[in-house]
């Protein structure tokens, strides 16, 4: 009789991990292809469209980098909190809060300050907004033991309504023909773009520097060590005298703050005014969860996985237009790939052998 024997791998090799990742992604693509067939779409045509739309042309690639910017920022922050097994699902609204704070600073102080002063101030305000919004679930968990998955999600809904409340009410511009938008940011508060693209270079630089710094912090400092111990062995963390509350709050400041930076980038670099939550962020906070997971929660790898998933977002837009598929297609992509990545993790960590004979 055949049976399956599972045992821990003694050593996890880098090559093995990488190959499992590639295999998991490939298997995920096959599953998505089957879903395409069920929906009456030729999968080869769809994949070709997605690839050519995102990486196959210079225009597409520039769009991919544009969408990778918020994903790098948010994914980098999530990699850190997820390492400590704090499940922040609220990056979507931490981004929005950052956008709200940044826009307020830009609209109120922008007209009287030059660009080199106002832009850093807006990023600072955005970081603060995201960090404060991210601290709420941390405090709720530490003080009232409220599950952070639920609190961050509830805060997502609350913040989206709050933003809408602002733009239909007190912040509504009289100059936008009745649309629920704020005024345009003054010129000094608008980020300059890489010529011929929508890549806002300032945010891109901030994002790459941030994940490099985070990688060093996580793997080379005492604080990073504490974060990892809390995630891997909370009991040991207690005995080692690690301050659980302080570390949890700090990583949520980092994660929320980085999402807030992404929010400022989206408003000051792309939109130039606040509008409905769905248009400010096209689900970056959720996509970044998978970005972090694909990067194996290593901030530096987030750069590559962010570009990969940004490509799927851009390619997803392309097939929406050419095949008439709904926006939800991207969610199917993300969900399926995440499932296969989780399954791949199992084979990275465990040795699975199919043996003949009786169970031992």
């Amino acid at each position: 009789m055949l049976h399956v024997k599972v045992s821990d791998r003694e050593q996890i090799s880098a090559l093995g991990t990488f190959l499992t990742l590639v295999l998991a992604l490939a298997a995920g693509m096959v599953a998505i292809g089957l879903l395409f067939i069920i929906s009456g779409v030729n999968p080869f045509f769809a994949f070709k469209k997605i690839f050519s739309g995102s990486f196959g042309s210079l225009y597409g690639f520039k769009e991919t980098i544009t969408k990778a910017i918020p994903l790098i920022l948010i994914g980098g922050g999530l990699a850190v909190v997820f390492k400590a097994k704090f499940w922040n699902i609220g990056a979507e609204s931490q981004l929005l809060m950052g956008a709200i704070f940044g826009t307020w600073v830009g609209l109120n102080w922008g007209p009287s300050l030059p660009s080199p002063v106002i832009v850093p101030l807006m990023f600072l305000a955005g970081f603060l907004g995201g960090a404060l919004w991210g601290l709420i679930p941390a405090i709720l968990k530490l003080r009232f033991s409220i599950n952070e998955v639920i609190s961050t999600l509830m805060l997502n809904y609350i913040c989206a309504e709050f933003l809408t409340l602002l733009i239909v009410g007190p912040w509504k511009s009289p100059k936008k023909f009745g649309f629920p938008y704020t005024d345009d940011l003054p010129d000094s508060a608008i980020l300059s773009l890489l010529p011929g693209s929508r890549i806002h270079t300032a945010t891109l630089i901030v994002a790459v520097v941030a994940v490099v710094v985070l990688t060093i912090v996580i793997y080379k400092t005492r604080f990073g060590y504490e974060v990892r111990v809390i995630g891997e062995n909370p009991d040991a963390a207690k005995y080692a005298g690690i301050d659980f509350s302080r570390t949890t709050m700090l990583i949520m400041v980092i994660s929320g703050g980085m999402a807030g930076l992404a929010g400022v980038g989206e408003v000051a670099g792309i939109h130039h005014y606040l509008s409905y939550p769905d248009s400010i962020s096209s689900g970056y906070g959720f996509t970044a969860i998978i970005v972090a997971w694909l990067a194996k929660l290593n901030p530096i790898y987030v750069i590559f996985s962010a570009i990969f998933f940004a490509g799927i977002l851009v390619g997803g837009d392309a097939i929406q237009i050419s095949l008439g598929l709904p926006a939800a297609t991207v969610a199917v992509f993300n969900g399926t790939l995440l499932i296969f990545l989780i399954m791949g993790d199992f084979f990275t960590k465990n040795k699975v052998r199919i043996l003949a004979g009786e169970r031992g």
Binding site: L140, I146, N147, I158, T164, V332
Partner: protein
């Protein structure tokens, strides 16, 4: 005045019905030790399946059955990942939610805005519905309401008073000891996750073929997440879930009642989510050990491990 009260209570019960169905299912899953964050996605899959099948066959009951099957099928993903592969249940549940919401959007696209010719409508119970006040409130409801109440009581009885219930609970409290009693913990956990999927799908079906007039993408609107909070609020007890679900149903109705008073509709739309946090806050103030959470909730279990 009497008519207003009757209408408010009636609508409260309607709004609470999907929450109750979802919560009862999640209680089964969590009692067996599996945290299932896929509720929102499975609800959406249930909703879209029920709608499509009803639309094409003209038989909403067939739609409901198809939804339950679809909900159980897609929940296999979470069961396989969390039971067989011992994966992180938070991430796997999130993946299920993403997949479910995506599939519902993809499959439901051709039906957006289309109304249903036949829906599951209110089914007055003879004689009982003639009782003043109580009759129209309790006994002139959608069959989903009766079903939800009966299932809540049935699941409570099953969990507390049957051998199967003891096995489910002990799988969540002490899987190792349960296994030594000759019980297949993996099987129990698989079945519990699938049952939860069926319940979530029923909740979704209620939204699409009874509550709503046509197909709208995203009609679950976070109800699946509220269900997870309600499970904690109910202290993993299906009877307490009845109270919690209808309390939240009331908050959904309150939104529409307060709107004419000139309160911002965006603020009112925050109410269910604010209330969820408030409810957990009250729960969190209590001693966490008295919260009665299954001891091994979200802890993977591997057979034969010491």
């Amino acid at each position: 005045m009497e008519e207003i009260i009757i209408s408010v209570v009636q609508r409260t019960l309607v709004a609470g019905t999907p929450l109750l169905l979802g919560t009862v299912g999640e209680i089964i899953s969590e009692r067996s030790g599996i945290l299932n964050l896929g509720v929102e996605g499975v609800m959406a899959v249930g909703a879209v399946t029920a709608f499509i099948v009803t639309h094409h066959t003209g038989n909403p009951w067939l739609g409901l059955c198809a939804a339950i099957v679809a909900g159980m099928l897609i929940s296999i993903v979470h069961a396989f990942a969390s039971v067989s592969l011992q994966s992180n249940q938070v991430v796997s549940g999130l993946a299920l939610t993403m997949l479910g919401l995506g599939l519902a959007g993809l499959l439901g696209k051709p039906y957006v805005g289309k109304p249903l010719a036949i829906k599951i409508n209110a089914m007055p119970i003879p004689f009982l519905s003639d009782i003043p006040i109580v009759g129209p409130v309790l006994f002139n409801q959608s069959p989903f309401f009766y079903l939800a109440i009966l299932l809540a009581i049935g699941v409570w009885f099953m969990l507390e008073h049957t051998l199967l219930g003891i096995r489910i609970r002990s799988a969540g409290e002490n899987p190792k000891a349960t296994e030594t009693q000759g019980v297949n913990v993996s099987l129990i956990r698989y079945l519990s996750v699938l049952a939860a999927g069926g319940f979530s799908a029923m909740a979704g079906a209620h939204l699409s073929i009874s509550y709503s007039k046509s197909w709208i993408e995203g009609m679950t609107a976070g109800r699946g997440w509220i269900v997870i909070a309600l499970t904690i609020f109910a202290l993993w007890n299906p009877l307490r879930a009845v109270f919690g679900a209808f309390l939240f149903g009331g908050i959904f109705v309150l939104q529409y009642m307060l709107q004419p008073l000139g309160i911002s509709p965006n603020f009112l739309a925050m109410l269910p989510y604010l209330a969820t946090l408030l409810v957990l806050l009250v729960g969190g103030l209590r001693d966490s050990r008295r919260l009665n959470a299954p001891a091994m909730l979200a802890e993977p279990y591997r057979r034969g491990e010491r």
